[in-house]
């Protein structure tokens, strides 16, 4: 393939501008959607991982079976289980969390909010390990009873008025004094949180023995997975059932990644269909162009073009459609990803971290080139096989 033949192919493309752009558009859309999907889901995965690392990688959680992440059901764990976990060696502390949906009142407004509670004695360590930082006021302290710490935007988001330290809120008609406000994190879940002392809260909801989650911190340098297994087997024996899960952040990340991977696979599969349609568009355009240039093919053959020369010209032409479509689509898809990031930020999901994936753009461009070449093969073969005399006679 010499550059004269390349120029010939390029010349043909620029000769029919509108049709060339429409043909390329099919590839642009296909590649752009794939690139955008990959870029956004990569950003999502990074965001999830970062979130879970904040949750403390060395914390093992015991949760009722079928309950992962935000607990909503009435607990099936009890303080007996806490006692069992405490028997496992190698733990720095074992914290009980009790979580319940409660009616919360502030600024004459009422909302049903998840109230989380824990032992104030463990608040210092647990908040540190869970990356909860106080912006104003203080954390829970031993001896606290009817006090609460609230997320940074809870008031603004749900009660149309900021909640400040020394304000009072009502949970299930009981007055709680706000002693601290968390730093804003960017996620609605943590920014709209309410933390209260566990005993007070248990009494409030009349569940004196209830435990929603047991969180155990593994001592530094020890194998988190090994301890997780120990906790699991001890609990199995003590409870004589398996309707609970002992999980680590690593496992959760793994599972979420798996789910995300499946979703990604399906979405990219759908986007790939549009790329196939784009390829068919190239094929269609190439068949038309072979037909239109039948006479040119005859001329080229009469002046010494071999079948392979003709094949190359048409395959290359189809490849250019793919190459240009892939490059424009790759850049466009990245731009769309940043747009999605912007929209996500508007909707309070500021964690989505999008970055330009140069490798992906290069890969997408080459892939689109290959799609173009493959789509061009059959039409190019038809062109190459034309008999010179027949082609010359074609009007």
């Amino acid at each position: 393939m010499t550059n004269a033949l390349i120029r010939l192919a390029v010349g043909y493309i620029t000769h029919r501008k509108l049709r060339s752009w429409l043909t390329t558009l099919g590839i642009i859309i296909g590649i752009a959607s794939i690139v955008a999907l990959v870029t956004v889901s990569e950003g999502l995965e990074t965001a999830i991982e970062e979130q879970f690392e904040q949750f403390g990688v060395s914390i093992v959680r015991v949760v009722p079976r079928g309950l992962r992440g935000a607990p909503t059901e009435t607990s099936v764990l009890s303080q007996d289980d806490t006692a069992t976990v405490k028997k496992v060696k190698g733990l720095e502390y074992v914290a009980e969390l009790f979580t319940q949906n409660g009616k919360v009142e502030y600024n004459n407004k009422e909302n049903l909010i998840m109230v989380q509670s824990l032992d104030p004695k463990l608040a210092k360590d647990a908040f540190y390990d869970l990356n909860f930082e106080i912006d104003d006021g203080r954390i829970l302290e031993p001896g606290d009873t009817s006090v609460a710490i609230v997320g940074a935007t809870l008031g603004d988001d749900l009660f149309d008025k900021e909640i400040l330290v020394k304000n009072s809120i009502k949970i299930e008609d009981k007055k709680f004094r706000v002693v601290g406000v968390f730093k804003e994190t960017g996620t609605i879940g943590t920014d709209n949180i309410i933390f209260t002392p566990i005993e007070t809260t248990r009494n409030l909801f009349n569940e004196p023995n209830a435990v929603t989650i047991i969180a155990a911190k593994v001592q530094e340098g020890l194998d988190v997975e090994e301890i997780r297994e120990k906790i699991e087997s001890k609990l199995k024996r003590a409870r004589d059932n398996e309707d609970f899960d002992v999980i680590t952040p690593a496992q959760i990340i793994e599972q979420l990644s798996l789910i995300l991977g499946v979703v990604q696979f399906i979405l990219i599969g759908i986007a790939a269909i549009s790329l196939v349609v784009g390829g068919i568009g190239i094929m269609n355009s190439m068949y038309t162009s072979v037909l239109e240039r039948t006479r040119d093919i005859g001329i080229m053959k009469s002046i010494g073009a071999k079948n392979s020369d003709v094949l190359m010209i048409f395959v290359f032409e189809a490849g250019i459609f793919g190459l240009v479509g892939g490059l424009v689509g790759g850049i466009g898809g990245t731009a769309v990803s940043f747009l999605i990031k912007g929209i996500a930020k508007v909707f309070n999901f500021g964690l989505l971290s999008i970055s330009v994936n140069y490798g992906l753009i290069v890969f997408a461009t080459l892939f689109a080139f290959a799609v173009g070449v493959i789509a061009g093969l059959a039409p190019a073969y038809r062109a190459a096989k034309l008999k010179p005399v027949d082609a010359l006679r074609y009007e």
């Binding site: 120029r7 010939l8 001329i299 010494g304």
Partner: protein, 228 residues
Amino acid sequence: MEKVIELKQVWKIYKIEEVTYPALRGATLDVFKGEFLAIMGPSGSGKSTILNSVGALDVPTKGEILLDGKNIAHLAESELAQIRGRKIGFIFQAFNLISSLNALENVILPMTFQGIQADERIARAKKLLELVGLEHRMKNLPSQLSGGEKQRVAIARSLSNNPEVILADEPTGNLDSKTGKEILELLRKLQKSENKTLVMVTHDNKIAKQADRTAYLSDGKVIRITKN
């Protein structure tokens, strides 16, 4: 005299759907090196078919075509392409230039297919266009050229790979008589100066008279050859 082309009992039978149509029925003809041979005959007598067979554009159904002593009647397409590119220069009635390439690029194209170096291609194409008097039209597209100019580009193109034989199929058929005469003069001049064999299909007696010999075709056979 040395023979460049020999046709021995060449048959060409076209099959269009179920109807077979013999365009050549045992045509026999010798072409000598350096001569100007005109081929005449009524339409449908097989003039173009004979030219296409000699030019390796079409393969005969039966018979032998010797080009420089080598039988080209049953070669593979890739070999035929080589012969068309190196040994034959075609000139058509309808000019047959590539419309998206300018005059210079059209002349360069046959050399591209032969893998000649870029700078050499360009230099030779420019020289040939000067030879046909188109040095001022090199960058023009065929659509910007007159009929006579287009045929001059085609003549330059036919000479680009320095072939032995120029095959011209009614080269003046689409031109007015004055331009046609100029083109014919140019072809005659180049044929002599470049020492080429020229085979030209025509139905114009005046043109045929300028040829060294004229072969008359009828019903797919050469019925008579006259010397002028």
